[in-house]
């Protein structure tokens, strides 16, 4: 029974069979929302699917040696880590199966970002190297806030287990943590105003500049899966606990959709910030909230 549940989670819901179409859907929502905000009609519904299949059918330039192998490996690693992160989300309340805690989920969510940094450097393009350096700086700045927010949520609820977190009633401190995670999401998903690593007009597409064909398709897919995993994490923490799975699953999907819409509207309404402004934003403005959240949690634990 446990094995079947685990496989169902990894492959069906919220695993690959749900996550891949959801990733395409979220990519479409992002582009469509930006188009509507600019007064355009925007791409057709199937556009991310067309792009993905087309990229699979393109040729890739011949690259020899270890760097060629690495350039093939990074996107695959990113996709598998992002898919694993999606499968960990405790959408279905029944326990057992493919289980993990918040720490594993965070580690898996961090892998695509590291792959992007490594990919930029192994492509040996100057634009790729600039993009990777920016991604590294960005990752250092938002991750402090992100991790402090997660730790404060876990400490306030006395558990790191995702299942337990999803089932416990939310405390006010948890909402503060969710807010801090939401502030970090645009940087994690490379959206405006924090779209520094893949800045199209300045450094072309940053670390992805040398990637073509199926490798680029894998990057697009891993970006889409990151969307699903990151919005799913917030939806899991924010959703009310329901025991019936056929109510829990739609609530999860609707909440994720609302977060995608919110982030896309924010992305289209803002312009890209410079790297020093971004770093200052996370280290000066946002860190205060995260420190406030974690210090109040520690204070409450000392009192109780």
């Amino acid at each position: 029974m446990n094995l079947i549940t685990a496989l169902a989670r990894l492959l069906v819901f919220p695993g690959l069979l749900f996550a891949v179409p959801a990733a395409w859907f979220f990519l479409w929502v992002e582009r469509k929302a930006v188009a509507l905000m600019q007064g355009r009609v925007g791409p057709p519904f199937m556009q991310p699917f067309f792009d993905f299949i087309k990229l699979l059918g393109k040729t890739t330039p011949l690259r020899e040696g270890i760097s060629g192998l690495l350039m093939k490996a990074w996107p695959l690693l990113a996709v598998s880590a992002a898919a694993g992160a999606v499968a960990l989300l405790p959408v279905l309340p029944s326990s057992g199966g493919f289980e993990g805690d918040l720490i594993l989920l965070l580690a898996l969510l961090e892998v695509p970002s590291m792959c992007i940094i490594a990919a930029g450097f192994s492509s040996r393009s100057i634009f790729g190297e600039i993009g990777s350096a920016r991604e590294a700086v960005l990752s250092v700045s938002y991750n402090v806030v992100f991790l402090l927010a997660i730790v404060s949520i876990a400490a306030s609820q006395h558990t790191f287990r995702l299942e337990a977190l999803a089932q416990l009633p939310a405390s006010p401190l948890r909402w503060l943590g969710v807010l801090a995670i939401l502030v970090c999401l645009p940087a994690k998903l490379h959206l405006n105003p924090f779209s520094l690593p893949n800045a199209e007009q300045e450094i072309y597409s940053g670390p992805m500049v040398e990637y073509a064909g199926p490798e680029l398709a894998m990057w697009e897919l891993s970006h889409g899966l990151e969307w699903v995993a990151a919005t799913g994490l917030v939806a899991t923490l924010a959703a009310p606990h329901v025991t019936l799975w056929w109510i829990a699953a739609p609530i999860f999907v609707v909440l994720s959709f609302a977060i995608v819409l919110l982030l896309s509207v924010l992305a289209s309404a803002t312009a890209r910030l410079a790297i020093d402004t971004t770093v200052r934003f996370y280290w000066q403005c946002t860190l205060i909230f995260a420190v406030l959240a974690i210090s109040s949690v520690l204070f409450m634990r000392l009192r109780s």
Binding site: Q38, R40, V41, F50, D51, I53, K58, T59
Partner: protein, 175 residues
């Protein structure tokens, strides 16, 4: 033709990603290409995306009369676009070198150096003619697949200046 090939053909037709290259153009055609992505013309409805890297692109859009300096760059960029690929020559300059004909600094027209699939003449062409040219190129690319362009294939010519435009305003301006 099996199912996968038919799907691939549709996807190639519906998702043309462009790379724009200037080979000594006066910038007239370049701003018209950008205008075709604005809210008024919105080429993204056809799946068009302007890419920053030739590695990501399917269709190479070249403007300008091909100066001597640009020849090497054109050949490099054409080699960097991964197959299947198509080339759209935007404006009268890459087609005929236009008013700069017989200039010592030019080495045009464009089809001396790389195979061109679609010509969009005009000085500059209207954004709707450019979109039509890109759609035509996407169709050619989907049909051709990974095969190299046939040596005797005649390039398509789309748009015809004001005569081809559906709106009545430009007929009044340019009879």
């Amino acid at each position: 033709m099996n199912l996968w090939n038919r799907l691939m053909c549709t996807c190639r037709r519906r998702s043309p990603w462009l790379f724009h290259m200037n080979s000594g153009s006066c910038n007239g055609c370049d701003i018209e290409l950008v205008a075709s992505l604005t809210p008024r013309y919105d080429a993204e409805q056809l799946g068009v995306r302007l890419e920053g890297s030739p590695r990501h692109a399917d269709i190479l859009c070249i403007t300008g009369p091909v100066t001597r300096n640009a020849v090497g760059a054109i050949q490099t960029v054409y080699g960097q676009v991964c197959g299947p690929k198509a080339v759209v020559a935007i404006g009268s300059c890459p087609a005929t070198t236009n008013v700069f004909i017989d200039s010592r600094t030019l080495d045009g027209p464009l089809n001396k150096h790389i195979p061109v699939d679609v010509f969009v003449p005009g000085c500059p062409p209207r954004p709707d003619a450019i979109i039509q040219g890109v759609a035509k190129a996407a169709e050619i690319l989907a049909k051709r697949g990974n095969n190299p362009p046939a040596a005797d294939a005649a390039p398509e010519v789309v748009g015809g200046g004001a005569a081809a435009c559906a709106c009545n305003e430009c007929k009044e301006v340019q009879p």
